[in-house]
């Protein structure tokens, strides 16, 4: 067998020490279907017991792997079956959110996702109850994350749900106003949500999944940025090749961690999500990669093209490095979690409109963006509708995680802390979409031939 050589070892150590190579998360997906009962108390007990039993060793195993391979594993998380699917026979789904929160705390994980509903076509009574309860659920728990899928390429966009989510986002911000509207950082509105995403806040364990699985989300924008420093002024072919090679290395780490976690936890391996996930730390920025390609600042004309290349090359490089790639897999552009994006937004180089354009070619969507606290619910809903339309037509996942920060105006700053970072409040269009949003109904699924 090939003996690893010194330069390869040094390259890896450099990536860990100076380029912030890490594994963002090991996420254990747990199906809650076996918990279902019409006794509210029993349902909560069943959920708590199941989660704490399955994930009992998750945090310890994550720490062991981290210590042995020497690569930081930043978060350990749990995702569960969308709660609306198991709360149909009870009255108060918030009790389930609290049971999830208690279970997450007992296992020591960083987040638990799956206070979710899939309503791309229509809502059941249980879906509606759950969605209505999201502000209370997020305001009275610490680790619970929530997501709602309001559209898909096959079903179209459920505009009743979009309208409702405009209200829910606003109410969540108000319910968590003491923390700058932090609840909204734990709430994602999707189009074409995926069932095996390990990243928060949008992680849930889809109904097509098995009883339990572990998935891994990698990270590493700093590693890509540094690799590109080595191909200054080179044509894009070389840029793409360099990103592919780097993504391969990063994804191999994710694959190793996923395989080890799966073996030690005796739980099937789900997927590796090969997303480039930034953090607010210097040197861990997706914006910096785009700027390294030759843009003065993220948001300059050319940013969408740069991001398209990056997103595609990451997938091409990563896909061969893992036996199962899934989740969101691409480049994330969460504004508050990326120091380069924060700076670009502060300077006005990065607007909501430019971000929307960028979401056409990358993973996810309008992510962690603070907007003025007095933004009307209809405007929030209209932003969600626009983003869902991009996902629906382009057959990709899109999402909206907006924070209408209570009491804040354009130019103010909202602090979330930790991985969630901080965000400058950026302007939204002031023109009303109220009449449009109040129509309700469903935008029909798009035609997928005669494409132009």
């Amino acid at each position: 067998m090939h003996m690893i050589n010194t330069s390869e070892i040094l390259e890896t150590l450099q990536m860990i020490d100076h380029q912030k190579l890490d594994v963002r998360t090991i996420t254990m997906g747990i199906s809650l279907f076996s918990c279902v009962t019409d006794d509210e108390r029993k349902l909560c007990d069943n959920i708590y017991d199941l989660i704490t039993r399955r994930a009992e060793r998750l945090v310890q195993v994550g720490r062991d792997i981290e210590r042995e391979i020497g690569v930081p594993i930043v978060n350990k998380r749990i995702s569960v079956t969308p709660a609306a699917l198991v709360t149909g026979a009870i009255h108060d789904p918030v009790k389930v959110a609290r049971a999830m929160d208690r279970a997450a705390k007992a296992t020591g994980v960083d987040f638990i996702g799956g206070y979710s509903a899939l309503v791309q076509k229509a809502m059941t009574e249980a879906d509606r109850r759950l969605i209505e309860s999201i502000p209370e659920a997020l305001a009275t728990t610490d680790l619970v994350c929530s997501s709602v899928n309001v559209g898909s390429t096959r079903a179209g966009i459920n505009m009743d749900a979009v309208r409702l989510m405009g209200d829910v986002v606003k109410r969540t911000a108000e319910a968590t106003a003491d923390n700058g509207g932090l609840g909204c950082a734990k709430l994602v509105v999707f189009c074409n949500a995926v069932e095996d995403n390990p990243f928060m806040a949008g992680a849930f364990h889809g109904p097509g999944e098995g009883d339990c699985a572990v998935s891994v989300g990698v990270s590493g924008p700093g590693v890509v940025k540094v690799a590109l420093e080595g191909v200054k002024d080179a044509p894009f072919d070389e840029v793409a090749e360099t990103i592919k090679r780097t993504a391969f290395h990063i994804t191999r780490v994710g694959q190793l961690v996923a395989r080890e976690a799966s073996r030690r936890l005796e739980v099937p391996f789900g997927i590796v999500d090969l997303s480039l996930a930034p953090t607010p730390a210097v040197g861990d920025s997706v914006a910096a990669i785009l700027e390294e390609m030759g843009l003065e600042i993220c948001g300059a004309h050319g940013t969408t093209a740069a991001l398209a290349l990056l997103n595609d090359a990451v997938k091409k490089g990563g896909v061969m490095a893992s036996s199962h790639v899934g989740g969101l897999s691409g480049a994330f552009i969460p504004v508050s979690e990326d120091i380069g994006m924060i700076q670009a937004a502060q300077k006005g180089a990065l607007s909501l409109e430019k971000l929307e354009a960028m979401t056409c070619v990358c993973s996810v969507g309008l992510d962690m963006i603070a907007v003025p606290g007095d933004t009307p619910a209809e405007t929030v809903a209209a932003i969600i509708a626009d983003e869902a339309a991009i996902g629906m037509v382009n057959n990709k996942t899109t999402a909206v995680r907006l924070i209408p920060a209570p009491g804040k105006k354009v130019g103010d700053n909202v602090e979330f802390g930790g991985l969630l970072g901080h965000a400058p409040v950026i302007p939204v269009r002031e023109y009303s979409a109220a009449a449009f949003i109040h129509r309700g109904g469903r935008i029909p699924a798009p035609l997928h031939s005669l494409r132009n």
Partner: protein, 93 residues
């Protein structure tokens, strides 16, 4: 736990007497066998990479790592021990 059997130990810091001696003594005491060493000093900065076989029953990854961490702390150099799999995964197809 030792089925992989190899660890990569990297040492980085200001050069001083006895770094190699002390690291290898700990390895010897823990029944680990040194397979490869490469060591350089660039402008006073000591850097060593050592690959060791840790497959012996008497060798515990955790004990060895704890002792090496403590040594690094004591003599003021960074000593890191990682399973070789991380490097193999990243650099081999």
């Amino acid at each position: 736990m030792n089925e992989n059997k190899k660890a990569v130990i990297s040492v980085l810091g200001t050069d001083k007497k006895g770094i190699i001696a002390q690291v290898s003594r700990i390895l010897y005491e823990n029944d680990a066998n040194i397979l490869d060493i490469s060591q350089t000093i660039v402008s006073g900065l000591f850097s060593m990479i050592l690959i060791a076989d840790i497959s012996s029953e008497a060798c515990s990854f955790d004990t060895l790592k704890t002792e090496l961490d403590a040594l690094g702390e004591r003599i003021g150099v960074q000593i890191r021990m990682q399973r070789s799999e991380i490097f193999e995964a990243m650099h081999q197809i």
